[in-house]
């Protein structure tokens, strides 16, 4: 039996048999999203999550996902989950947090999203954007939001400044699956009033075939978030090499506005750019702008609309595109 299958079975068993967690804490969530794009792409995705705490303050988080898309070559609806038409374990980890005397110490082990930059599922899924940033998507010689680790992660510091280090092996589930081996991520994060600034570095293995992609993958990134009075700015700039003889640079900047007067509407906008170069002359240079909204229709049901404008070498996309998605989410505690 494959390790992923074992993890999946444990996750489903724990979720369905909530009585095993009696006396402990468990929250379960289910989400389903359906979407369509004028790029002639339709997609459906579901996620099932269980998380909480067991005795000795050990926390757990398990997330499984199934998603399918009518076009595997499109990044539509790929904000945070892979579309592989099979049930996959996205995350399954345990962690223990310590907060002694104003300091922060956290240890995590298991299967988790690669902690590079703005990386948690809740940062990217259903925030108002229906696509991942170009620099964070599987197939563009960059760092994917679907990168996962099998490993251990340590966080130390104080709330205003933390250092995080992860050591593990790639365990990806998207269309970009890195070669097996040891990889490491280091991330520094600091808080300056309403701004949060992070610097990350990853050394891992390429997801391209070993027949032509030699060497390691190395990326360094800076991420910034700022929020006040319902207005959030965030962005990442990432630079590095997917493998020997290549470079990828890219960035995205998001603004999300959720003011009192806007009621259930969150307005979003993104500008981004991706540049991939090789010594052999093959290259990918593209830009994209997105405006849109997330509208909370009623409890648990929300709609997302994005209007995108592409410019560059991603020929599979129309210059102007509209994506529409509807998500229903339910939680049981």
């Amino acid at each position: 039996m494959r390790p992923n299958t074992v993890v999946l079975l444990v996750a489903v068993t724990c979720t369905l048999n909530a009585h095993v967690a009696r006396g402990q804490s468990i929250t379960t969530e289910g989400s389903i999203t359906a979407g369509t794009s004028s790029d002639e792409v339709s997609a459906v995705a579901t996620q099932l999550r269980a998380f909480g705490e067991v005795p000795d303050h050990i926390r757990y988080y398990v997330e499984t996902a199934w998603a399918t898309s009518s076009d595997d070559n499109s990044d539509a609806f790929g904000a945070a989950y892979p579309y592989r038409d099979r049930v996959q374990v996205i995350e399954a980890y345990g962690e223990r947090m310590f907060l002694p005397g104003g300091t922060v110490v956290g240890a995590r082990a298991g299967r988790y999203r690669t902690p590079f930059g703005i990386s948690s599922g809740s940062d990217h899924a259903y925030t108002g954007f229906l696509r991942a940033p170009l620099i964070r998507y599987d197939g563009y010689f960059a760092l994917s939001n679907n990168f996962l680790e099998h490993g251990a992660d340590l966080l130390v510091g104080v709330p205003r400044f933390t250092v995080e280090a992860s050591l593990g092996a790639p365990a990806d589930v998207g269309s970009a699956v890195r070669r097996s081996g040891l990889d490491s991520v280091v991330r520094l994060q600091s808080v300056f009033g309403p701004a949060i600034v992070g610097v990350s570095h990853i050394r891992t293995l390429p997801y391209q075939p070993a027949s032509f992609a030699f060497g390691h993958t190395d990326f360094t990134g800076i991420d910034v978030r700022w929020m006040r009075d319902g207005v959030q700015f965030r962005g990442e700039w990432i630079t590095g090499r997917p493998f020997n003889g290549t470079t990828t640079d890219g960035w995205y900047a998001d603004v999300m506005v959720h003011r009192v007067a806007m009621g259930p509407v969150t307005a979003v906008a993104r500008v981004e750019q991706l540049d991939y170069d090789t010594t052999t002359g093959l290259a990918l240079h593209t830009k994209r702008q997105t405006i849109g909204a997330r509208i909370r229709l009623f409890e648990g049901l929300s709609a997302q609309v994005n209007v995108l404008h592409h410019k560059g070498q991603l020929d599979q996309y129309r210059q102007a595109t509209i994506d529409v998605g509807v998500t229903y989410s339910v939680r049981h505690r």
Binding site: T27, M97, V104, V158, P159, T162, D229, G230, S302, R333
Partner: protein
């Protein structure tokens, strides 16, 4: 030698004085009326259609009650992608701390009614205070995690409580009087009525709340 010292008159005098002091202190403590002795502890079970229900806020109107200069520290934690407790009742004038106990960022806000605020994003280990200075219901959400929700009900009375998992609630030290009671739960109209504590040997009183009535 050591035994002689223990039996010395000086030591015996000191021991007697200490015993006298402890007796006087005990008598003085018992003689001072405590807050609990000034009123009646009101106990009750909150029910929905006859079944005990948690997270129901019960309070008694007390327009003449004095507001304390300081209130105890009240915390609404963000832990395991949940607000804890899910329903919090506070007295008007209370400052509630919202610590982030998760490794992910949270962004607590209340836009709809009650106390309107937006705390912005902050990381694990950090906390933000909110002063609830007017009565009413505040619906609390996280802008990053749409499934996180909680309620804070600020009431202008010292006599309030929230029912636990067994539906039980407790309003401590309620002076004998005639009261208007209120009961609130999420998604239902507020219950209210007139209530007078009955005489009881155990110095407590019962108040029943049931939405089926």
């Amino acid at each position: 030698m050591a035994l002689k010292r223990l039996n010395s008159p000086r030591l015996r005098r000191a021991t007697s004085r200490l015993a006298l002091f402890l007796c006087l202190a005990t008598v003085a403590t018992l003689a001072v009326p405590t807050g609990a002795a000034e009123g009646t502890d009101v106990h009750g079970i909150a029910r929905i259609a006859g079944r005990p229900a948690p997270n129901i806020v019960v309070w008694l109107d007390a327009p003449n009650a004095q507001r304390p200069s300081q209130t105890a520290k009240v915390v609404l934690d963000q832990r395991n992608l949940n607000f804890s407790p899910h329903v919090l009742a506070v007295r008007v004038g209370t400052t509630v701390e919202f610590p982030n106990d998760d490794r992910v960022f949270h962004n607590v806000f209340s836009f709809r009614d009650g106390q309107v605020f937006d705390l912005g994003m902050y990381p694990i280990g950090a906390t933000r205070p909110v002063h609830f200075d007017k009565p009413g219901l505040s619906r609390i959400f996280c802008n990053i995690h749409p499934n996180m929700a909680a309620y804070v009900l600020a009431v202008d009375t010292p006599y309030f409580g929230v029912s636990d998992e067994s539906g039980a609630f407790n309003l401590p030290s309620v002076p004998p009087s005639r009261y208007t009671y209120h009961a609130w739960r999420a998604g239902a109209p507020e219950l209210s009525g007139v209530w007078t504590p009955g005489a009881s040997e155990s110095n407590d009183a019962k108040l029943a709340i049931d939405w089926s009535k």
